[in-house]
């Protein structure tokens, strides 16, 4: 299944965008919630502070829930019971006695009623801002005063210096320690805050979803724009065919990020075109090389048949035809070897004793060398490679034949095989004219001739070195040339050697 980069890109984009939008909305929500709570808490703080300051005016025994100091003798009835409805003082005999407030005791302390009524929040009951309620407990746990307190409120325990804020149900409450061990609880319903926050959260979610949708739509459009140049590159690449290899991606119109890709593709197209050109030139050259001996055979036969000839003339004509036919056969053989090597060479990969294969091939060439008056010397050290013995023998034969063909009269040829580290090295050295530097890069090309006139006369097919190179490269090796005009040439073949034989019991070294 073809995976879409565009879809994956968009998915990642969606994930990141969701994270960003969600995180931002979450942060905003918590900030707003904290601000709203701070507002409520500030109101509760103010209320608690006002209650606390009112409590400071109370005599300590009232706050501690202890008996007041013995009252002075007095007249009058028992103290009136008082308190808000629903509030039952657990100590009916409590409170300052009216007789207590005598002028003879200095400044008259505020009356209990006054104190109790001052212990309240600003504003009339029921209309207090935010429907505040509160309760004040004495140190012994008894309720001093409670206003609008929800009935199920437990007795709070305040720790001095540590105001406690909490939610009870939907109410926000603050518990602080008042003077004399009292506990003050101030609370207010926070339903409006909660519902406001919920509405805010929904608005945030809606906005976030809208932003996400717009972002994804934009991302889809942007990704289409991003993939447009890739589509253009695809288009160009699809126009490249065997008929038209010259098309190239215009790197000037491609975005910076794709210039590398365009460059790589153009380079590949260039190599492809060069390979096709080489192939076309090779085909033309091969056809030329085949047509020439064919022309000799045909025209010689036509000429000979055009009139009566002497037996000598017929014989000479047939020799000419035979030489041309042999040349064609050599050429066809070479072309086949080359195409086989191009196709990866022989599949045979067996241990080959390079020194033996080389010795055999050199012996086959020896009559040719001696016929040319050349001295042929060898120096073989045993080395084994993985490969095809026939192909490697052909490499040796081609190099030695070459060395014979281009040697000077009375010259010599030296063939060596040795191991150099992990490589087997075959060296063929001649004492010929040498090859000028400018031809070094080309001598391994098919049908390349350093000196056309000379090689025509000596009868080479122009394929020997190309075949050698193809076979060596099919063996994972390299072939190289060292030569200077007038100093002869040295061809080196390097092929990866098989690991050295473990024991000396294998073959006798130095086989010649």
């Amino acid at each position: 299944m073809a995976r879409s980069i565009r879809v994956r890109l968009l998915l990642w984009y969606a994930v990141v965008l969701t994270g960003v939008v969600g995180g931002f909305a979450g942060l905003l929500y918590s900030e707003v919630r904290a601000a709203r709570l701070a507002e409520v808490d500030a109101q509760l703080d103010a209320a608690a502070a006002s209650l606390e300051s009112a409590l400071r005016l109370f005599p300590p025994f009232e706050l501690a829930g202890e008996w007041p100091p013995p009252p002075p003798p007095k007249r009058g009835g028992p103290p009136k019971k008082k308190g808000p409805p629903g509030w039952k003082p657990d100590r009916p005999e409590f409170g300052p006695d009216p007789g207590f407030e005598g002028p003879e005791f200095g400044p008259k302390p505020p009356s209990r009623e006054h104190l109790m009524s001052s212990l309240d929040l600003p504003g009339p009951p029921g209309s207090r801002s935010g429907a505040l309620y509160f309760g004040v407990w004495r140190a012994d746990g008894g309720v001093l005063k409670a206003v609008d307190l929800p009935p199920d409120t437990p007795t709070p325990t305040a720790i001095p210096g540590r105001p406690a804020r909490s939610f009870r149900g939907s109410n926000r409450e603050l518990v602080v320690a008042g003077p004399g061990g009292t506990s003050i609880l101030v609370g207010r319903p926070a339903e409006t805050v909660a519902s406001d926050l919920t509405a805010f959260a929904w608005r945030l979610a809606g906005t976030g979803a809208a932003v996400l949708a717009v972002g994804l739509a934009g991302g889809w459009l942007v990704s289409r724009r991003i993939f447009r140049p890739i589509a253009a590159i695809t288009d160009t690449a699809s126009r490249i065919s065997a008929d038209n290899l010259s098309a190239r991606i215009d790197a000037a119109t491609v975005d910076r990020e794709l210039v590398g890709l365009a460059g790589v593709l153009n380079a590949a197209f260039g190599r492809l075109e060069a390979a096709f050109d080489r192939q076309a030139r090779f085909t033309a050259d091969a056809s030329h090389e085949l047509r020439t001996p064919l022309a000799v055979i045909r025209s010689q036969a036509e000429l000979t048949l055009s009139r009566q000839r002497s037996p000598d003339e017929y014989q000479e004509a047939l020799h000419t035809c035979l030489r041309a036919a042999v040349r064609m056969a050599d050429l066809v053989d070479g072309l086949l070897a080359l195409s086989r090597a191009d196709a990866g060479g022989s599949a045979v990969r067996e241990p080959v004793e390079l020194h033996r294969v080389t010795a055999d091939a050199v012996e086959l060439c020896r009559p040719l060398a001696e016929g040319a008056g050349l001295r042929l010397t060898t120096d073989f050290n045993p080395v084994t490679v993985q490969g095809d013995a026939g192909g490697l023998g052909r490499v040796v034969g081609n190099l030695v034949t070459n060395a014979i063909r281009y040697n000077r009269p009375g010259g010599s040829i030296h063939v060596g095989v040795e191991r150099d580290g992990g490589e087997a090295v075959l060296t063929v050295r001649d004492t010929g004219e040498g090859i000028p530097e400018e031809h070094h890069a080309h001598v391994f090309e098919r049908f390349y001739r350093v000196d056309k006139a000379r090689s025509r006369a000596t009868g080479g097919s122009g394929l020997g070195l190309a075949i050698a190179k193809a076979i060596v490269e099919a063996h994972g090796g390299t072939i190289g040339l060292q030569s200077k005009p007038g100093q002869g040439s040295v061809f080196h073949v390097r092929v990866p050697a098989a690991p050295a034989r473990p024991g000396p019991g294998g073959r006798e070294p130095g086989a010649k």
């Binding site: 056809s287 030329h288 025209s299 056309k452 006369a457």
Partner: protein, 217 residues
Amino acid sequence: MRVLVIEDEPELRRVLAQALREDGYAVDQAADGPDGLFKATAWAYDLVLLDLMLPGLDGLELLQRLRREKHTPVLVLTARDAVPDRIRGLDVGADDYVVKPFNLAEVLARVRALIRRAAGRGDSTIVVGDVEIDTARRAVARAGEPVGLTAREYAILELLALRLGKVVTKTEIYDHIFDETDDTLSNLIEVHVSNIRKKLGRDLIETRRGMGYVVHG
């Protein structure tokens, strides 16, 4: 008629030269580009047979340089048969184009046609008075009766007949009839002319003293 064969393949060059000689041409040979260009510019050939793939100097390059100096008819012989190659060869100045491997008889016919055309003649038969010269068959007849001429006699007659009304010097005859390997004395031309006169009548070839010979149409 004298022809230059520029071909680097020795066997093919030899076969072509032999075939042309057997057809009565004087044939020179060149094995590479520079030698071919030198000979083609130095001598007055009636035709050049040119291979395109030559060592030393490419055939097309040779043709271009030759065309700066001479208008010798050039028949290109090549193994390159692609249409662009042919077009290029003809554009550069080749008069005809034959692809290897060729039919030898066809090449010889084209050689004749090119030489004839260069002389400004369309057909292969030249008629002078009651003498009829068939250049295709290399046969001569007088009043409808075939007349046997030697190869040299025929070559001289054909040369003069192709330049009808023009004076041809002995040097020119020498240049066109003998190739570089011949070592014939020039006075032999006079012997050949006298033999032709014996066979075809005294008036056919007129001698211009100190200048040469002319055949009047």
